[in-house]
Amino acid sequence: MTTLIEVSGLRKQYRSAFRKPKITALDGIDFQVQEGELFGLLGPNGAGKTTTVKILLGLTHPTEGTASVCGLPVRNPESRRRVGYLPEGHKIPNYLTARQALSIFGRMSGMSSADIRQRIPGLLDQVRMGQWADVRIKKYSKGMTQRLGLACAMVHSPQVLLLDEPTDGVDPVGRREIRDILRAEADRGTAVLLNSHLLSEIERTCDRVAVLRNGKVAAFGRVEDLTRQSATYKMVATPIDDSLLAAFRETGAGVERVNGHMVLSVTDLTHLNVLVDRLRAGGGELAELTPVRSTLEDVFVDLVRADERSSVGAHE
């Protein structure tokens, strides 16, 4: 697999006015995105996601570290020949039609007029905008503008797609279509970097994610690895009373009573079986026992809360 995006030791500090301390947006982050991979960049507001994308596009310059796209340093404008970008809240000039916008941005990406003419109909059909090709953008809905933005990012068939909130304002059907388009792009070898607050979208779409927090990579890996919570189970049983909870806690298990069922944290399967034995020994009946799988949102919220707790601790 070829690495198409490589970020190493990236640091970015913004100067602030009146000699106040510098603001650190990125504090030495590293990650790589391979060809054919859908990669999600997550993080709370101000975590450094947009700064990372802007550095990859040469819109802003790193204070330290390196970033390259398709093997070329991001300072080299040629690196952007193979990059398609959809900014959040983009403003494609609304006096243009979809065809004109694609033509202008295609030529700015180095395409010939003949190639652009050939590419536009298929591309607009792909984003379900074929019928709107010659209508001015100011007549479009937000979802349509977003789909056109995606087409503008893909017009020159880039090897790397950087997408900032690509499904923003798009209806559920449109979102699924965009997910399908991105999957198809990845299948043909494009590296897709998604920057989104919609964690469910990221969870459904991406192969791997990096969660940024305070300019650092707080979590990194495959989505299923991050969402797997080993040794946490939901138990539905009768009766659930205080004596049962106490008996479970005696074994060292974590026990939480939630809406008529229990959430158990155990060390391993043997430990789980001990709890089941205790339930039965006390005359209880097991109705349901299922492993708990957290969502990406749970992982994200836990990381953010852990950060809030540590910062409160530091102040105290």
Partner: protein, 283 residues
């Protein structure tokens, strides 16, 4: 070249969609119509028998030749056109950089494989093409109307447009510099008009320098005069060039390389500085 063509297309489409192009050429057309209907010449056997300007009889007792009268019209109008063309051009093009730098728009341009300098200069050239086409339209139309009404051909009138174009190019470079720094169309327009009038005032630099009390003040005024565009001298140069040899010596003496070269140098300096700042700017 593809980038330049794409930018020219973008600028023209924007100008058309936002009514700038229509307003720009509509105002110019109104002026041309007024000019065409204002001049009425009575020519008998190739000689000027009478003339009316805005319906008023021109005093013909001094038996003016038609060539002299046309030259008088053209030199007078060239001054007016100098101001009109310059003001319209700045008004129609000063937004090019601030609008491009808007959040959500600049990312679309800078994410393309184009160097920032190339992007800025492409937009500058697109602006010049827009302004230049208007100068050509105004000057050319009036030149043709004069030929149609008098059969007198004075190519110097048309060529005088190149001096106006030079001033527009320099002022647009300054507007681009201000646009890169402030991202504000209003500030770009105001400061560029301010620069134009400041240049007019600095024409009296020797008198102002003589009037100030401190030596450093006089030195500052002289420096500003040499650094800033010489809008007064170049306006005079348009008149001198259009009028040619019939103009008095005090007018013709302005046709020296110095005001042209220093003004052009100011424009080039502004463009270089704008390009440098644009390259370093973080979005």
């Amino acid at each position: 070249m593809k980038v330049l063509v794409a930018n020219i297309e973008d600028v023209m489409r924007e100008a058309a969609a936002r009514w700038t192009l229509i307003a720009y050429f509509f105002l110019s057309t109104i002026f041309i119509i007024i000019f065409a209907s204002a001049i009425n010449l009575d020519i008998v056997d190739g000689a000027l028998a009478g003339a009316k300007l805005f319906g008023k009889e021109v005093d013909m007792r001094d038996s003016i030749s038609i060539e002299k009268l046309v030259l008088g019209f053209e030199t007078g109008f060239s001054v007016f056109l100098y101001f009109l063309c310059t003001f319209l051009a700045i008004f129609a093009t000063a937004h090019l950089v601030p609008r491009m730098q808007e959040k959500g728009t600049i990312d679309l341009y800078l994410s393309r494989p184009v160097s920032r300098v190339k992007l800025l200069l492409s937009r500058y050239i697109a602006g010049l093409i827009l302004a230049g086409s208007n100068v050509l339209y105004l000057m050319g139309s009036i030149w043709l109307i004069v030929i149609w009404k008098t059969q007198v051909v004075n190519p110097r009138f048309l060529l005088g447009g190149t001096i106006i174009f030079l001033v527009i190019a320099v002022l647009l470079a300054f507007a681009f510099l201000v646009g890169v720094v402030t991202s504000s169309t209003a500030v770009s327009i105001m400061t560029t008009y301010g620069l134009f009038f400041f240049g007019l005032m600095l024409a009296a630099h020797d008198k102002i320098a003589a009037a100030v009390s401190e030596e450093w003040q006089a030195w500052t005024i002289e420096t500003l005069y040499w650094v800033f565009p010489k809008t007064a001298e170049l306006g005079q140069a348009v008149v001198a060039f259009v009028g040619g040899e019939v103009m008095p010596d005090r007018v013709l003496q302005v046709l020296t390389p110095a005001p042209f070269l220093t003004t052009a140098a100011f424009g080039v300096g502004c463009l270089i500085l704008a390009s440098w700042l644009f390259t370093r700017k973080e979005f």
